[in-house]
Amino acid sequence: MQLTLWTYEGPPHVGAMRVATAMRNVHYVLHAPQGDTYADLLFTMIERRDRRPPVTYTTFQARDLGGDTAGLFQQACRDAYERFRPEVLLVGASCTAELLQDDPGGLAAAVGLPVPVIPLELPSYQRKENWGAAETFYRLVRALAQPAAGTARARPRCNLLGPVALGFRHRDDVAAVTALLDRLGADVHVTAPLGASPADLATLADADCNIVLYPEIAATAAQWLGRSFGMPCVTLPPIGVSATRDFIAEVARVLGLDPAPVLADPGTRAPWYARSVDSTYLTGKRVFVFGDATHAIAAARIATAELGLSLVGLGTYSRELARDVRAAANAYGVEPLITDDYLDVEKAIIAAQPELVLGSQMERHVAKRLGIPCAVISAPVHVQDFPARFSPQMGFEGADVIFDTWVHPLMMGLEEHLLSMFRDDFEFNDSAAPSHIAAAPAPATLAWAAEAEQELKKIPFFVRGKARRNTETFAQSRGLSLITVEALYDAKAHFAR
């Protein structure tokens, strides 16, 4: 047993849901008890999706266990097909159903639906979310991809593989990379899983190459496409200016295009901003990096080579790609941290004493508690990681977004300079209120009864100030000199909308 407080990754069937939800015309029948439907809210709330994930849960209960959970599963398959009419049905079990050993694949096949049924074997007690997503995508590709039809085209075409639902900026990365490829002279054939239908997956081999944007999710499927159809593959996620240059050069080489025009006019401000004098203060600032392997390795490279920071820690929760992170950490001369225990990460952050933390939402909370500036670079995601504006991580535009996102939490160069000049100044210190905020008015002759003061403390801290002001305003308007519990609630009723 592993003691876990917060987890970086959910169970593998959540990874399967991220693939199914990203695609069109796919439905996933999950043998699962009531409660597992919580996963729906990840998509509808965090990503603000406007429809439910295409998942039917069998919702078996304790009283079904002695009886016919298999029959329940088959009925759920029939009902889901009738209602949703998918092109492909994915079937599988969550952690509890795995223990029942009902064999969803065999049961679904026996139902005899007129569409392909793809069974998913996702061992919940060994594997996690990203592995589940990779396995699901691989199973889909393997079941559906057909040999190339071999049509001639004016421009070469690539598949963009890996973007899924609940991915860190996947939606925007796809747009940025598609635009970049267009400038290079290549078209996108299929983007998958995000936005693809099973029929699209059938034509994957018609592209001239595969581009793996997120190896955590698409490496297995791309390797299989390479083995089966001889498709070349580019696995250099274009995160950061240098990585984007490498990516362009490699895609151009594979497709026989000329990278020179795009490389000559990248249209990014980040390199110049990094060289501008104000950025001098960034030199050697200590940065700690933790996230999924792809984003962590990319962040380490940007932080050191493109911003001039000093890397003091590098780690990942992706055990599947731990080797890559170890290699990168060794190259930077830091100890690699491979763990999915956030307390270990917190310990490492405290020990490394960084001035900037680049991590997931979990590290953001740790950094906030420690008072260290932080920027988010990786899943697990939060509603904040789906900004309304276009904000990719990939391509030259992504490099500019990253420059802004990472540098803004830090104090700017001139501010730091002023701070040391005015240190210990009587008007300019931590405890003095900013001068543009008027000095607090002298307290009126209002007294709070001890009981009312106690009651006020039960109000959540973020609205307590407002409650106190409102109550005092109310008491003054009524000519009260002592604020009692009754007065507090009278004021609450008075000010309620």
Binding site: M1, Q2, L3, T4, L5, W6, T7, E9, G10, P11, H13, V14, P33, Q34, G35, D36, T37, Y38, A39, D40, L41, L42, T44, M45, R48, R49, D50, R52, T56, Y57, T59, F60, Q61, A62, L65, A76, D79, R83, C95, T96, L99, L100, P123, S124, Y125, Q126, K128, Q361, M362, H365, R369, H382, E455, K458, I459, E486, Y489, K492, A493, A496
Partner: protein, 431 residues
């Protein structure tokens, strides 16, 4: 579908003057879009301030609790999951040793913990890991510093708020015995609400009041033949049964939602303790009037609006009663995961006839009914809210009704506001 619904409504309106007491109930089984009982940990660990909740389950359980709570790491939380791994599934003796070692590490790390709940999950129930025996064993080895109890929050046995029921029922077995005549208020309430009720009971003349769960493990109330208990939440079937088996008597009452509900709830307690109606009126009059004033402000927005409840917390029937009687809303369907006839008898009698009562869920069919009915407001879980909004239906997330103080006079206006706000917002937005 719409026609059928109206037919049901018409039959009931014609047939029953006594509210929904005898209304037929549509029972459905199928996919349920609800949380399991583990979710209760999110508010229970805030309530009992020196308790720790250790779920013995899978990565899914850990992910569920963290997702239901939002990723809010303000502090090291007082809950965790002992994740069962492949090697634990090999043999039970091994799993028990593993559990002991996890608990040992936990207690060493958190010495301030006085009460530890081992919380069963779907996988622990299926592999028949006996957590009650584990709790006894650990209680012996950790006594007297830490008391260890167990309950199941598994989705194969509990729906959402039933987790609190199971937790409190486990506490009941551990309560000391008394013969004193005391009032026990049962069900987790926000501290601020609890204090308001304590003051009201004192004003009414009931001084000996205990609350379950207590804020601290050491303050467990005593219970016995003299105990009269008043449920503050409608989902406490097992807890009530456990209290009755300890000799306590349940005071039948509606639930303290809204001005009327709160008064009837307090009145039931006053009657049980032989307190004159005049004294009750004197003690509650001002606060009740304040609540009615606060409610009046929301009536214009809510009166006449049609409301549809998806099953979630078992609070649906009391909420529908409050919204129908005090704010003039028209419930279309009142879905609840489980309809406890006895505990809801007073509520059902008060709920005006008309709505379809449904128990259990087949979510796709219920969505069909909801779309056909086109209610003005739909109360549902977070998995359904945005999709329904995208279809043009205004929604109220039901989970907020558990995380926000809503009981009692001073919160009546806040409760109405929770329902009015989505409608007000729609009027404001011009994009």
């Amino acid at each position: 579908m719409n026609g059928a619904l109206h037919e049901v409504g018409a039959v009931q309106e014609a047939g029953h003057a006594a509210g929904c007491a005898d209304a037929p109930v549509l029972r459905q089984r199928g996919q349920r879009e609800v949380f399991c009982g583990l979710t209760g940990i999110v508010w229970l660990h805030r309530k009992i301030q020196d308790a720790f909740f250790l779920v013995v389950g899978s990565r899914t359980c850990a992910h569920l609790i963290q997702s239901a709570a939002g990723v809010m790491i303000f502090a090291e939380p007082r809950f965790a999951t002992a994740i069962i791994e492949e090697r634990d599934l090999a043999g039970l003796a091994d799993a028990n040793d593993e559990l002991d070692s996890v608990v040992g590490r936990l207690i060493a790390r958190r010495p301030e913990i006085k009460l530890l709940f081992l919380v069963g999950s779907c996988p622990s129930e299926v592999i028949k890991l006996d957590l009650s025996r584990a709790a006894q064993r650990l209680s012996r080895s950790l006594a007297p510093a830490v008391r260890v109890l167990s309950y199941s929050g598994s989705g194969i046995e509990t729906t959402f708020t039933q987790g609190e029921d199971a937790c409190l029922a486990a506490l009941v077995a551990d309560l000391p015995t008394t013969r004193a005549r005391r009032l026990l208020v049962v069900g987790a309430l926000a501290d601020v609400v609890e204090d308001q009720f304590r003051r009201l009971f004192a004003a009414i003349g009931i001084a000996d009041v205990d609350f379950l769960p207590p804020r601290r493990a050491a303050d467990l109330p005593a219970v016995g033949a003299g105990t009269m208990f008043l449920l503050a939440q409608p989902f406490l079937a097992d807890t009530a049964r456990a209290l009755e088996s300890r000799g306590a008597t349940r005071i039948a009452a509606p639930f303290p939602l809204g001005a009327e509900g709160t008064t009837l709830w307090l009145r039931a307690a006053a009657e049980a303790f032989g307190i004159a109606p005049a004294r009750l009126r004197e003690a509650t009059g001002i606060a009740e009037h304040r609540a009615r004033t606060a409610l009046a402000r929301h009536k214009a927005m809510l009166a006449g609006k049609r409301i549809f409840f998806f099953p979630d917390s078992q609070l649906e029937v009391p909420l529908a009663r409050f919204l129908a009687r005090e704010l003039g809303m028209r419930p279309v369907e009142v879905g609840t995961p489980y309809l406890h006839r006895a505990h809801l008898a007073e509520e059902l009698a008060l709920l005006p006839a008309g709505p379809l009562l449904s128990e259990g869920q087949d979510v796709d069919r219920q969505l069909d009914r909801c779309r056909a009915a086109r209610p003005d407001l739909t109360v549902c879980g977070l998995g359904l809210a945005n999709p329904l909004e995208a279809e043009g239906l205004a929604t109220k997330w039901s989970i907020e009704l558990l995380f926000t103080p809503i009981q009692g006079y001073e919160q009546a206006g806040d409760l109405a506001d929770l329902f009015a706000r989505p409608l007000v917002r729609r009027l404001k937005l011009a994009v």
